[in-house]
């Protein structure tokens, strides 16, 4: 699903990634850990083609993203769901519209939109808050809307960049359970975090980056 081959990323004179090699298979759940500035976010940004590698190859679902023409990037992103630390919801739109606007832009019929949005909101257990606005929701609920939006188009890959970074431990666990449930249905999940307790609790594959290098890659691993 995701393959990094000798990836180097340089910003100015700063080497953010230094010869990174990764292979994440279909259906895996992977924690990407490391301290701030270690290179986690750079790996994420390269995965959803917000950046191009300075050298090396990033292949997502068989597509070399560096060679992908600019106008084809949206097609790549439609095959993945992205969850952000700060939720990134549209404050003036209710829960339904926040989830629906992605598939609306794809030209789906209203009936199909209703079906998919309802399905996604049931997965995140928010079906009863369809009409609420982000300001009326708790942090955990807002993140659940973010997850529903990410999975509404049924992407084979879900990328979550510190999805529990702004949440308390109990809510973080709830979010993690939802993400695990999504993974159990066959979606590959790549989750960047530095939440030690969560990583230790779920015992998934853990890839640790430090100073732009992969220093550890363990199945059923813990934070350290």
């Amino acid at each position: 699903m995701i393959r990094f081959r000798n990836v180097i990323k340089v910003y100015g004179t700063q080497r953010a990634l230094d010869c990174v090699n990764l292979h994440i298979k279909v259906g895996e759940f992977v924690f990407l850990t490391g301290t701030s500035g270690a290179g986690k976010s750079t790996i994420m940004r390269l995965t959803y083609r917000e950046e191009k590698p300075t050298r090396g190859q990033v292949v997502i679902g068989g597509v070399d993203v560096a060679k992908l023409p600019h106008n084809k990037v949206p097609y790549l992103r439609r095959r993945m769901g992205i969850v952000f630390q700060d939720f990134k919801l549209l404050s003036k739109q209710n829960v339904f519209d926040n989830v629906a606007f992605v598939i609306r832009a794809l030209g789906m019929s209203d009936r199909e939109i209703n079906r998919r949005v309802s399905g996604a909101l049931k997965v995140v257990r928010l079906y009863d808050r369809l009409d609420a606005f982000p300001s009326q929701l708790s942090g955990g609920e807002q993140q659940r809307v973010g997850i529903a939006r990410a999975i509404v188009n049924g992407p084979p890959l879900l990328i979550a960049d510190e999805p529990t970074g702004n949440l308390d431990p109990q809510t973080s666990m709830e979010i993690m359970e939802i993400l695990e449930q999504i993974n159990n249905r066959g979606t590959t999940v790549l989750l960047a975090t530095h939440d030690k307790e969560m990583v230790n609790h779920f015992k998934k594959r853990v890839i640790t980056v430090e100073d732009g290098k992969v220093i550890r890659d363990i199945y059923e691993g813990t934070y350290e």
Partner: protein, 286 residues
């Protein structure tokens, strides 16, 4: 069929996004549309006036005659055919010297001498711009003795016509640039105020044109509404121009108002969408 349905839905959703965007711009809409209307009405009134001046000049040109005096011994019919070949002359009237002499004798008490008058051709030129070239050609004909026409008036008419055309083009360029810049800045502000939303759409893989099109349509909407408002001062000007053309007895004037209104609307919509397109290209990072 499924694709066509999806495309139609996408178009209708883009339009609905445009409407939402316009609603969100609130009172700013009014400021932009009235500014656009003011600029477009200046352009419309100038354009309309320049059309009247051109029509007036054409009218003067039409009524202007060139008299061509032939050398004796040359056939007037042959000379007429030769001049007609240029294609720039509407009508040639031959005044034979015998007829002219007898008319002159009737009108004035002239002594009984040999007819001194030459055969004369009276030319009506198709366009006043062509007068100079026709005269140059006719002057070089073997059969032509002399030519008479109101040279000063012709030159002035051509000058006024040229100045009007150049002024209209300059005004068009200046106002076009001004309109472009207003729309460009407005859409820039709209894009800035919705930057977070655009960022989310981008990350979610929403197509570039789905994101961009509502802003371009919003610009076109401002241009269209501005041009509709600009019709009001144009209609007032029209009534003044009508009384002027009647005063100068210019006869039936062509229906220029429709032409000006169509040009205004086209200019409004094209410049409006172009201004927002430039802004979208510059400020909307996808």
């Amino acid at each position: 069929m499924v694709h066509i349905d999806a495309d139609i839905r996408i178009i209708s959703r883009i339009i609905s996004e445009t409407v939402k965007g316009i609603k969100r711009t609130q009172w700013m809409n009014l400021v932009i549309i009235t500014t656009m209307a003011a600029i477009l009405s200046i352009f419309g009134c100038l354009f309309r006036t320049s059309l009247v001046i051109s029509s007036f000049i054409e009218h003067l040109g039409d009524s202007m005659e060139v008299s061509v005096y032939l050398k004796s011994g040359y056939n007037a019919e042959k000379a007429k055919l030769e001049i007609l070949k240029t294609g720039d002359v509407n009508e040639i009237k031959i005044i034979h010297k015998e007829k002219a002499w007898s008319e002159l004798k009737q009108e004035m008490n002239v002594p009984d001498i040999k007819n001194p008058l030459p055969d004369t051709l009276r030319l009506k030129i198709k366009e006043q711009k062509k007068i100079e070239s026709v005269i140059h050609m006719v002057k070089n004909m073997k059969s032509v003795e002399n030519i008479q026409y109101a040279k000063d008036i012709v030159e002035k008419i051509i000058k006024v016509g040229n100045v009007t055309n150049v002024a209209t083009v300059i005004v068009l360029l200046i106002l076009g640039g001004l309109t472009l810049s207003i729309i460009n800045n407005t859409i820039h502000l709209v894009i800035q105020s919705r930057s977070e939303e655009i960022e989310i759409m981008r990350m979610m893989g929403i197509g570039n044109w789905y994101i961009r099109a509502p802003y371009i349509l919003q610009g076109a909407f401002y241009g269209f509404c501005g041009s509709l408002l600009a019709i009001v001062p144009l209609r007032i000007l029209e009534s003044y121009l009508f009384s002027m053309t009647e005063f100068f007895n210019m006869g039936e004037t062509p229906n220029y108002l429709n032409l000006v209104i169509t040009s205004l609307m086209l200019m409004g919509v094209i410049v409006g969408s172009l201004g927002s397109y430039i802004s979208v290209r510059k400020y909307l990072r996808i």
